[in-house]
Amino acid sequence: MSFRLGIDVGGTFTDFHLQRVGRPPLLHKILTTPSDPSEGVIAGLAEIAARLEPACSLSELLASVELIVHGTTVTTNAVLTGQGARTALLTTHGFRDALEMRRGLREERYNNRSTNAPPVIPRCLRLPIDERVDAQGQVVRSLREEQVSRAVAFCRDQGVEALAICFLNAFANPQHERAAGEVVRREFPEAYLTVSTELLPSIRFFNRVSTTALNAFVGPKLKGYLDGLSRRLYEAGFEGLLLIMQSNGGVVSPRVAREKGALTLLSGPAAGPIAGLQYARSVGRSSCTVVDMGGTSFDASLVLDSPMLINEGDINRLRIALPMLGIHTIGAGGGSIAHVDAGGLLRVGPQSAGAEPGPACYGRGGRLPTSTDANLILGYLDPDFFAGGRLRLDVAAARQALEENLTRQLGLDVEQAAAGVYRVIGTEMAQGVREVTLERGFDPREFPMVVAGGAGPLHACLIASELEIPWFLVPRSSSVLCAAGMLMSDLKHDHVKSLVMPWDEERIDWQRLEELLGEMLAEGEALLEQERVPADRRSHVLTLDCRYVRQYHEVSFEVPIETLGQRDARSVARAFHREHNRLYGYSNEEQATGIELINLRLTSIGRAERAGLPCEKSPPGGVDAALKGRRRVYLPDGQAGCFSEIAVYDGHRLGAGHRISGPALVERVDTTLFLTTPFDALCDRHGTLVIHLKGRDDLLRDVSLQELAGQAGGLA
């Protein structure tokens, strides 16, 4: 028997998704162990071994696992808490403050008490090196190795653990960075080293120095963690392949992750969109929005045939310029705190009560009203069946928290205030979905929404109503969607090289272009080779970053590699105009405005072997057998809303073809779905609940209800 395992370590919970041939997946959740997350991983695995039928030992379980894909927030937490390695920067003389200056940005214009984001490397460890390369890559002032040696000796004296090297214009000529890197490797081999052009050889100094510094800052932490985890796993009997989730939605070997820890900085939610896509496909669609509501945050993303990528983003106000999924995160989760602001308006979030002290109803010392407290008062949560009854919720504490902080200020009763919290957080989340759809020129009504996270299904109907989205999916594994998605992710390596050059036929340096492309292809092939990806599963995708001369922002667009081979400048230009037009509503094709090339990007992919979605065996009995009882809940329909008794179903007793008509609640151990009056739900053969507006059965034409003979859980 061979298992595949997705393990997603989050801030509060560690999620497991165990994939088994011929059987439904096993989902498991335990509390994360923050001091060393690998302890929780091993503990969770032991619990899973005990849950199997027949139960087995940890080493028996691990011996049967052929693949573990692991998502970790070790690097994310290192940045958020400022607890990375003691890091130094060697940089071109005259520019040692670029990292801290952040181009002079203050995010809050009117708040004179807001301070700059603390740099990951203090000024006293940012060391100038007297060297200079010009914008075209010509050496203006040669590097003197003895100066690098002196800087390295200083770092050693100062107890530095990691070093970042980033020189001005190194994208055009990395010779000085390489030479300085050699000195460090020779004279301070125990230091963790990141050389900017080895990580991100592209133009824009601030992006590069910031990304390089972050990589050096988090690298030693991730390296230590991965070394420890692999040792524990292999000692416990694991013989399979371990892969690590990256922010770009792909996976990578631990060997690469150790060198390029920054690749994992925003990897937390990165597997969600991939999983979402597979569920969208199971109902006949190739695009979807994915929303994931956890304890502290709400992540929204858009998938159009493949998850949407961006080339730079920020973590804790620090720039990271590596390709990552375009996931929009807002502070709206189950733990988000509701308050009345200075103008008397009700607000929810972004502050969160987190897991500690948690919502007031957890009874762990939380006194402030949260979204979860409101949901309990509104009847959406059963105080005796939260997390399958593992945590008893305290309704009185929830009511008290609202009374003390909201009702008096708003002049409402507790139920009305709770309903307000529910509606306001719904508006916030709908805005999050808008950010990734309408604000990028896409209409959210055109795609099904895939709903994930423990708290997501409680709010999804309201989000859908707000945006007029006619249908959405709550997959069987929605509460551990990222762990499930990790097993569907391809190996992925992104390369970038800058080549600033006017794109007109007379002035294109084809030879240089082909050289750079060749180097990137060779690098990609070598990495996939090391990761034992067979040749027929490898592929490479080329994108170019171009812009109209004098524009500031580039447009990335895909170009078939053959087009460069054929030196077809016009097709490239046409593709650029087209993409510019799609993004911004106009192009200057007719005006023949000059175009310039800025970067070449190559993504090397090792296609994962994806298992198809398993089919679930239908439980005996009709939908009535799943009816648990009735509960009085708040219905947010219409402008006022009202309380009403509605049906409560046991989600574990629903099977293919079962239909439920809203309003209703569907409870599972790990999540609760609140179906409002305008919606109905249909359970498909994978155990996915397909929620749709009443009367919109036309959306369901590709939903499969029949278990296919002999194909239960088979490989697709």
Partner: protein, 570 residues
């Protein structure tokens, strides 16, 4: 009157914000001039049928607060003749515009047959006609030498382009890019209109009107509560402007009287010096924006920006003063009177709001270089955002913000990236770093200033300088020391050094000249001897204060051994 639902009120507030944000995103993505898409020198807003502000998004606050008065002017001007499908342009500084180059697009929103709202998008255009490309003409004495005046004018009526009007405008503007960017602004206005209509369809007109007024009242109450926390009284402060671009040694004083009583605040500039002969004059809108953005930094930053916020605030700026020039004086420099205006307000309120005011901020001193790039033979233009950013003033409990730049942007305008800068201009950067001892010392020190050095890479280069802050340093408060002065100097290859005046145009600057700029640090707050010793040591260790200053100014008796990184020895 529709009943007020306190929850729906939050939903409206959130939606208004979302609409103006979405309009901003549209502008940032679709405009081409770097001052719009990169420096984000634009604002978007949403107004009710009468022109009252529902919400606005202020990338550059100095532009923002003239949108509502202009909207009201448009409503008066066209009266009954406002139709669905109209698009109206405006820039005129003598009908509430703030600066000639800042051109606004107003789009009426009709729900059925009724005018219910307006969207507005205003951005700084790369050119607006007048005698000098780009608009900064230190020699101008009248508005016509500065710009094409656009009083409210319909470029679309009932959805139909008025081609003759359009052509009249754009045949008086140098660059095609302006036409593109104005189209982009119109697109953003449409985005806002669509979203606003969707909101009205969902909740209905009556609900919108009732909740809008409730929102104004709630915001007004919040602002009144903030003002009520200020001790009632009359407070006075001054700020100085040096050199009008025509008479060397000239100096002008801005005088503000702030009166706080009955939960209202009044800023009265009677007694401010008369207008100048040159282009160093404010408009009512730019000066009132400066007043508001400074005051807003002293109250809870979370108060929504709508009409209600403005109700308890009164601003009086007599016409004919340097802050409110009379028709037809030149005014292009007006936005840059914000720093001395802010100084006057901070100084006035410092005695009663010691924990809300800041010490003096670094004033803007900026350069604009143009020439022919020898690598491409193309003309380049560079506004030196990178060099101009000094530090903010410290406040009680908080050091100033390093390298933030002028208070009118408050960190909203960004440096060029060094490598992109060297691609787009022929200059070579030599240094861009915090300047040691540039911040005013104090228990909380000012924000650090920055030193920029670059080698000019084109022959016959033209350097336009505009700004201030090279005569009087940012002030300290409560025993805090002043920051350092701004300075721009040119070291010619022949060994001579030239310091251009702070409003001037220098031509024929040769290749190889070293351009040097200091953007000074902000003023300090409180006695430097009271500064936390650990912070003094940290600043010393980081090389942002010298050992001399640590001992002499901060009185650090035992600096201990401070490791000096190789290559940073002074």
């Amino acid at each position: 009157m529709s009943a007020i639902d306190p929850i729906l009120l939050s939903v409206y507030a959130r939606c208004f914000k979302a609409i103006t944000d979405e309009m901003s995103l549209s502008v940032a993505k679709t405009t081409r001039s770097p001052i719009l898409c990169e420096a984000k020198d634009f604002v978007t807003g949403l107004y009710d049928a009468q022109g009252n502000m529902l919400e606005q998004t202020e990338h550059l606050p100095i532009l923002a607060f003239s949108l509502a008065p202009v909207c009201r002017h448009i409503v008066d001007y066209f009266g009954e003749e406002i139709y669905p499908g109209d698009v109206i342009f405006h820039n005129d500084v003598f009908s509430f515009g703030n600066q000639n180059n800042d051109v606004a697009v107003y789009t009426p929103v009709f729900f059925g047959d009724d005018l219910v709202a307006w969207t507005a998008v205003k951005g700084h255009q790369a050119d607006i006609g007048g005698a000098v490309a780009g608009g900064y003409n230190p020699n101008a004495v009248e508005v016509w030498q500065e710009a094409l005046r656009i009083p409210p004018v319909k470029v679309y009526e009932r959805g139909k382009l008025r081609k003759d009007v359009w052509d009249l405008i754009f045949s008086n503007i140098r660059f095609d890019i302006v036409e593109h960017d104005m189209r982009a602004q119109m697109g953003a206005g449409r985005v806002g209109e669509r979203r606003m209509l969707a909101l009205l369809e969902k909740y209905g007109r009556a609900s919108f009107e009732a909740h809008k007024e409730a929102l104004f009242q709630a915001t007004c109450r919040a602002m009144e509560a903030e003002i009520a926390a200020i001790p009632p009284g009359v407070y006075r402060g001054e700020g100085s402007v040096y050199y009008d671009g025509r008479t060397p040694g000239s100096k002008f004083t801005i005088r503000v009287t702030v009166e706080v009583r009955d939960r209202r605040i009044r800023f009265d500039y009677s007694g401010t010096d008369p207008q100048t002969e040159g282009f160093v004059n404010g408009t009512y809108a730019s000066s009132a924006s400066a007043t508001l953005l400074t005051f807003l930094q002293m109250v809870n930053p979370k108060i929504p920006h709508n009409e209600g916020m403005l109700r308890p605030i009164e601003i009086v700026i007599p016409e004919g003063t340097i802050l409110n020039a009379a028709y037809p004086r030149a005014t292009t420099f007006g936005n840059h009177l914000c720093p001395p205006n802010a100084d006057a307000i901070m100084k006035a309120l410092a005695p009663v709001l010691p924990d809300r005011v800041t010490a003096g901020w670094n004033h803007l001193l900026c350069s604009l270089t143009t020439g022919i790039d020898p690598r491409t033979r193309d003309r380049y233009v560079d506004i030196g955002f990178m060099g101009l950013k000094g530090g903010s003033g410290a406040m009680q409990g908080i050091d100033g913000y390093d390298h933030i730049g002028m208070i009118d942007a408050s960190g909203g305008v960004l440096d060029q990236d060094y490598e992109m800068f060297e691609q787009q201009t022929p200059h070579r950067l030599i240094q861009h770093e915090y300047l040691c001892d540039s911040a005013g010392a104090g228990q909380w020190r000012g924000g650090l200033g920055v030193e920029t050095v670059m080698e000019i890479g084109s022959d016959d280069t033209q350097v336009v300088v505009f700004g201030d802050g090279d005569f009087e340093p940012p002030f300290g408060l409560e025993g805090g020391h002043p920051g350092v002065l701004n300075l721009i100097s040119l070291d010619y290859p022949d060994g001579t050094t030239v310091v251009p005046r702070n409003k001037s145009l220098t031509t024929g600057v040769p290749r190889g000249t070293l351009y040097k700029q200091v953007a000074g640090g902000g003023g300090g707050y409180g006695d430097p001897l009271q500064r936390d010793r650990a912070r003094v040591r940290e600043d010393l260790r980081n090389g942002v204060i010298s050992l001399e200053a640590a001992r002499g100014v901060y009185g650090l008796e035992d600096p201990g051994s401070i490791p000096v990184p190789p290559g940073t020895e002074c």
